[in-house]
């Protein structure tokens, strides 16, 4: 019996940006995410989170190391892109003069989804994400929360195996962020082969769902494990809530506070 490939396998990925001196955005890092997992990447601004997401999404070439998405090396860019769903900038990544439906139709075409299959998936996502009232409106007229849901719909449309979500709850209010996380959780339950790697500063929204926590600071992966295991390893007192546990871990490893309460 063979062991299934991890959803994400990262081996020594490193990236520097040119400058004087050069900026070492990622020192060689290693980790794996498995099917069914929701992993949360925490770290202050400039920690290297977006660099890591962009490399895994094939938008940025690493200087060293390698990563595999469901066993495919990143060098197979188009095949990798077909298996990932990505949210990077939900506010500005749509055609604002078109409505939500036409935007989704354009992006779905890139995956070969059209005709009846498109309509069927659109109906499913409109119902699941509560987009009925705004799917026919121009994206430019939507609220940040509505655009956030549209971005999730686009990321889920082709039923990807790996979701890479870089601060997807950034412009959502706490209630909308909670709804967003519930939707992700539902997707994972309905697609057991899928996994999620998500970054956020909003610990309150993700605490109940974070099965794994990875803490990145100054380009180095400082912690990787379940919140409970990391608290025990660090010799920290077990807090009463998961949100408090995440905040305590964040502060312990990065030496900074984060958006604790929301």
């Amino acid at each position: 019996m063979t062991t299934p490939e991890p959803s994400i396998r990262v081996q020594g990925l490193a990236k520097s940006y040119p400058g004087n001196p050069p900026v070492h955005a990622l020192h060689p890092i290693h980790f794996q995410i498995h099917a069914g997992e929701m992993a949360v990447l925490l770290g202050p601004n400039g920690a290297g989170k977006t660099t890591l997401f962009k490399i895994l999404a094939t938008l940025l070439r690493p200087d060293g190391g390698e990563a595999w998405i469901t066993g495919l090396p990143l060098a197979k860019r188009r095949a990798v892109r077909a298996r990932i769903g990505v949210i990077t900038d939900p506010d500005r990544s749509f055609f604002w003069r078109l409505d939500g439906r036409d935007n989704l139709r354009f992006f779905a075409a890139g995956y070969g989804i059209r005709g009846r299959t498109f309509q069927q998936r659109l109906d499913e996502l409109v119902a699941a994400l509560g987009m009925g009232e705004f799917i026919s409106r121009r994206v430019g007229s939507l609220s940040n929360g509505q655009r956030g849901r549209l971005a999730l719909a686009r990321a889920l449309f082709h039923r990807p195996d790996v979701l890479l979500l870089d601060e997807p709850t950034r412009s959502l209010d706490p209630a909308a962020a909670g709804d967003f996380m519930h939707l992700l959780d539902t997707y994972l339950q309905e697609h057991p082969q899928a996994s999620v790697l998500l970054s956020t500063h909003r610990l309150g929204a993700i605490a109940a769902f974070a099965q794994r926590v990875l803490i990145l600071h100054q380009g180095r992966l400082l912690a990787d494990g379940t919140p409970e295991a990391l608290i025990a390893q660090a010799g920290l007192p077990q807090p009463e809530t998961r949100t408090a546990a995440l905040a305590r871990l964040y502060a312990h490893f990065t030496g900074t506070e984060t958006d604790y309460g929301r």
Binding site: T51, F94, L98, G112, R114
Partner: protein, 271 residues
């Protein structure tokens, strides 16, 4: 990902751009009026240009017909020259470039697809110029239309090579499509858009031979104003073919290199 997706993607890119264009209805009206006024302006200027003029005597119809062909086809050629870079700049500024680059289709396919609607639109404008010209007496009734189409397609391909180089520069330097500006200005002065190159000083005339526009406009005037057969247009066609064979591969290589650079530096979406 299957290459069979590519035609669908091209169609959806075209459809997207048509729908976006339709949200700017006033722009259609203004462009129509601008075409109308431009044709009228050159019609009346042509009244000043009387008697035999160097370069004009090769073609039927005098100065008005000469300028009409230059005006009509420069809009089409400028899509080849500036459209690719324009798509990149607009997508960078709107924030949609990374979202498109995440699709499992080659980004150059999307860049090419984003020029389909502008090409069709510019082709429509070219026809409008010619119809207005016909109404004002330009001798287009005996035009060799198939030959003109072949010249226009070849010219668009040759100029697209320069356009792809301009797009590569946008990816590397972010601002200022230097290739488009330089070539557009040089073509306006040298290639016989508004006046025959024969009016230029001898040494400057030779520079016009370095531009594909020169051969394109000569071929188009021959086909449309004189009704020249393919055999008579052969020098223009061969020159345009040579430009295409030289510039297209250079443009494709430059764009591929620039995309790789942008992916290494992580600045694909920056502008």
């Amino acid at each position: 990902m299957d290459v069979r997706v590519w035609p669908t993607m091209l169609w959806e890119t075209f459809r997207r751009d048509v729908r976006i264009s339709l949200t700017y209805r006033l722009a259609f009206v203004l462009r129509f009026l601008s075409t109308l006024f431009q044709v009228a302006v050159f019609y009346f200027i042509s009244k000043l240009v009387t008697g035999p003029q160097p370069g004009l005597d090769h073609y039927e119809g005098g100065y008005f017909a000469y300028a009409l062909i230059g005006l009509a086809f420069m809009r089409l050629f400028n899509i080849s020259l500036s459209g690719y870079a324009g798509m990149l700049t607009e997508s960078q500024q709107m924030g949609t470039l990374e979202a498109q680059a995440l699709l499992p289709v080659p980004l150059p396919l999307l860049i090419f697809g984003a020029n389909l609607w502008p090409y069709l639109y510019a082709f429509g404008e070219t026809l409008l110029y010619l119809l207005l010209g016909l109404a004002l007496g330009a001798p287009l009734a005996g035009a060799n239309v198939p030959a003109a189409l072949v010249v226009a397609v070849l010219a668009s391909m040759a100029i697209s090579g320069l356009g792809l180089m301009g797009a590569a520069l946008i990816l590397v330097f972010k601002r200022g499509n230097a290739v488009s500006w330089a070539v557009e200005a040089a073509a306006a002065l040298l290639a016989g858009v508004y006046f025959p190159p024969q009016l230029l000083p001898q040494p400057v005339q030779k520079l016009s031979l370095l531009l594909p526009h020169t051969y394109a406009l000569a071929g188009l005037r021959g086909a449309l104003l004189n009704g020249d057969p393919f055999t008579k247009l052969l020098p223009s066609l061969l020159a345009l073919l040579a430009f295409t064979l030289l510039l297209m591969p250079l443009g494709v290589i430059a764009l591929a290199w620039a995309l790789k650079q942008a992916q290494s530096k992580g600045n694909l979406a920056q502008y």
